[in-house]
Symmetry: C3
Subunit: 340 residues, 3 copies
């Protein structure tokens, strides 16, 4: 598990300055890297570490090339962070666990299910009637692909993923352990103080190149489907309600929640723990800060926030108590202003 | 999969105006419905869509009957949303996947477990010693019913549900994939800077007609049980701490959390992401807005909120910074007032 | 399942006042306890219940010994809550379900996996190539121990836990159902409006004596590992991002989230639903209130909060609306002050 800088540049491009014969054992952070490791400087703010890192090779942008080559070998590329991403993928392909194919003898594949020859179905996985697992797909141990559900080509379902009946996942997706795609949406009609269940008759459709985090839930539609576009990235423990639509290349951080029938545009980001209420629309390129709550539709691209600032508990107590009288304070201020 | 309006009215009641022989293929939203679909108008605010929808049949209330019958067939009923709920259930019974019975050959059922003859135990499910699965219950693939646990009659455990040792789920419940009923409550005694585990010796008891969402967790009691009443509806990714009591017909939206020993009344609603702190009591008919935090007991029915309003990030930054001085602002205002 | 007070004191210490021959059936709360139950008074505020409880035996501190012995048998000990914790453990060892050993015939253990002779591997569990399950460890039904992963001695993995490839859990840990240890961290490089995956090449390392709650997720590191120290206690549905470090004996309540590369000190507590943003540092002995959001590093031990106070919805609406103008209000106040 060691590779020369020359071999990396050969595979991924970039210009090598310095000794390209140096052997690299691992990709590491600037702080942890030693002389047989490669690291990267993705931002101005890490520039100072150029002097202190012991990395055997640094990936840098043009602006830092001169400075970097003085200290040792480097790879110069227009976007070092992107280069690091591609290097991580290349590294995984070389050294990661091998892609398997076939059906583990302990798995249960129903008679009418279709599993491509080069797909993999792991131990104790269940593929129900009419389900389709396309070429190159990897279905992990204990995963469950429901009746007539579809798993796209080269998609990876990590162990213990649930794709419920009738739901579809596109090509080249990654779904992490514990994710539940296609549980019932939360729909009930109130009647004489009780809740009458509304059966959720829609499905979930997930586009290509999406990633769904561990224990994230995407509910099936009530009528019509819940839909994720292309390249959508959802972190762990996210809740996506029924009939939500998420535009292409939108990303959401952990513990975010989107209530039923909301429509999120393309190229949006939603911070960790943020909440979007039901039936709202967010335009493309809207960015919501972590833990903020979206209570009205947002029609204009931009960056939106709403979080109570953290403080010493004793300070917070005083300010929070006063906040309950804020409207009155405004009235009192107005009264004073009028007296002028 | 098509049915006449007459057959629907025959099954569910209501008055058909117009051509009751029209064949219906699907239930759809007002926007998506075509001439072989049925839709519904549940609220005044959708009235304008009466003119634009192409639905072959509309479910409407008395007030809209005249207007609706002019455009085509309709079913008139006092509560169109309730009618839709019942129609969705009827539809599911007609066209949904069939209820199964028996024990899948790959499942593991312990010697002293009792499984009713007409119950279903899916692939790789585990029913431990002394557990009881009552008549008509459906235990999905990879589900786990612990030692001496009970699954009520006609209850559905979706694939990969955990009912831990000694916990009971009532009749006609639905538990979605990934839910964990009966993990240990979070209890530790502090001792010389470390945490000493308090074994959680209670169980979870869930009433009849409850629904528990995907990946929701309900912890077992420390001493005594965690208890959900009748008809409680919990959405996905909800955390219910040990010894919580939830009254009949209370509903909570996704990502809500209730800390240990809190008591929630009957007929309450808790919005998505809202938090109820430990040891508090909420009266019946209390409604908590999404993302609000309940820090004191609430003894009076009503609607309660506490969320920082969303704003442009730059505006929010200014207001949040000022909020840290709010108490001082009040003091300054008071000083000015005194000078008058 | 009954034991004399004498036997309890014999096992756990403390001084018995009154009739030590009384037989005890269960540990119960002050309110629920009857004459064959033992209960405890852990705090001044429960003192009033000393008069009303019907418990056959009370665990009390020195200050209440005189009062307690008047009403009946008691055990006097410096820290009644700690005594209760130890009693709960003792009780569980006596009466809980028995520790098993061996490999259930339905489990899948790969050829190169090592499982200690006295460890237990439950039904349908999967132990992958090169994985190690140490002595006395309990691997529950449907659990998955990935390639080269390690489960420490006497550690309990409850049913349906995922320990992904290469991740390690220390000795004497408890991991609850649905927890996912070692899913990919959420890392992508933006490139021409799309997200390029950064393969997550690190692992997760969990120290000894940790407890991980149900459906909690701890992501593997991007480069280097995500690390939990000794005695860390995480409740349910918590999200721990990649490369987070958590110091010894820190505890977090349900639904908390820690974003990538944050460093939490030792002996901290993080309340339910609280969020710590990425790349921040928290000193030792920092306590964050429930639902608060940490947006800057905290270098000083203390108690920090930031939550919008709950109010009647109508009051909240007025105050929230005014809050959007708070900065302006300050300006107006300043103007008035200048006029003086």
């Amino acid at each position: 598990m060691s590779v020369s800088i020359a071999a990396i540049v050969d595979a991924l491009g970039g210009q090598c300055l310095g000794d390209s014969a140096i052997e690299i054992d691992a990709i590491k952070s600037l702080k942890d890297a030693g002389e047989r490791d490669i690291s990267f400087i993705s931002h101005e703010r890490y520039k100072a570490q150029l002097e202190t890192t012991r990395a055997g090779c640094l990936i840098v942008g043009d602006a830092l090339a001169d400075q970097a080559k003085v200290r040792g070998a480097c790879i110069v590329t227009p976007d070092p962070y992107l280069y690091y991403a591609k290097l991580s993928q290349w590294w995984r392909r070389q050294y990661g666990s091998q892609v398997q194919c076939g059906v583990h003898p302990s798995a249960y594949v129903a008679a009418t299910a279709q599993v491509a020859n080069d797909a993999w179905v792991g131990p104790f996985a269940v593929i129900e009637e009419g389900a389709v697992v396309k070429r190159g797909a990897q279905v992990g141990a204990h995963a469950h692909v429901g009746i007539a559900a579809q798993v796209g080509a080269n998609t990876v379902l990590h162990p213990r993923v649930t794709i419920a009946d009738g739901c579809c996942v596109g090509d080249r997706c990654v779904v992490h352990s514990g994710a539940v795609i296609g549980a019932d949406g939360f729909g009930f009609a109130p009647h004489e103080g009780e809740w009458i269940k509304i059966e959720q008759l829609g499905n979930v459709r997930i586009g290509d190149d999406c990633e769904i985090g561990a224990n994230t839930c995407i509910d099936r539609g009530a009528l019509g489907d819940t839909v994720l576009g292309q390249g959508v990235k959802l972190d762990n423990l996210i809740q996506i309600g029924h009939n939500v639509k998420i535009g292409d290349h939108t990303a959401m951080a952990g513990c975010a929640g989107v209530a039923g029938s909301a429509t999120i545009g393309a190229h949006c980001t939603v911070g960790g723990g943020a909440v979007v209420l039901g039936h709202l629309s967010l335009a493309d390129h809207v960015h919501i800060s972590a833990s903020s709550v979206v209570m009205r539709s947002i029609h204009k691209a931009g960056h939106y926030s709403g979080v109570f600032p953290l403080d010493d508990n004793s300070q917070w107590e005083k300010n929070a108590a006063t906040l309950k009288h804020l409207h009155q304070l405004r009235e009192r201020l107005r009264a004073l202003e009028k007296q002028k």
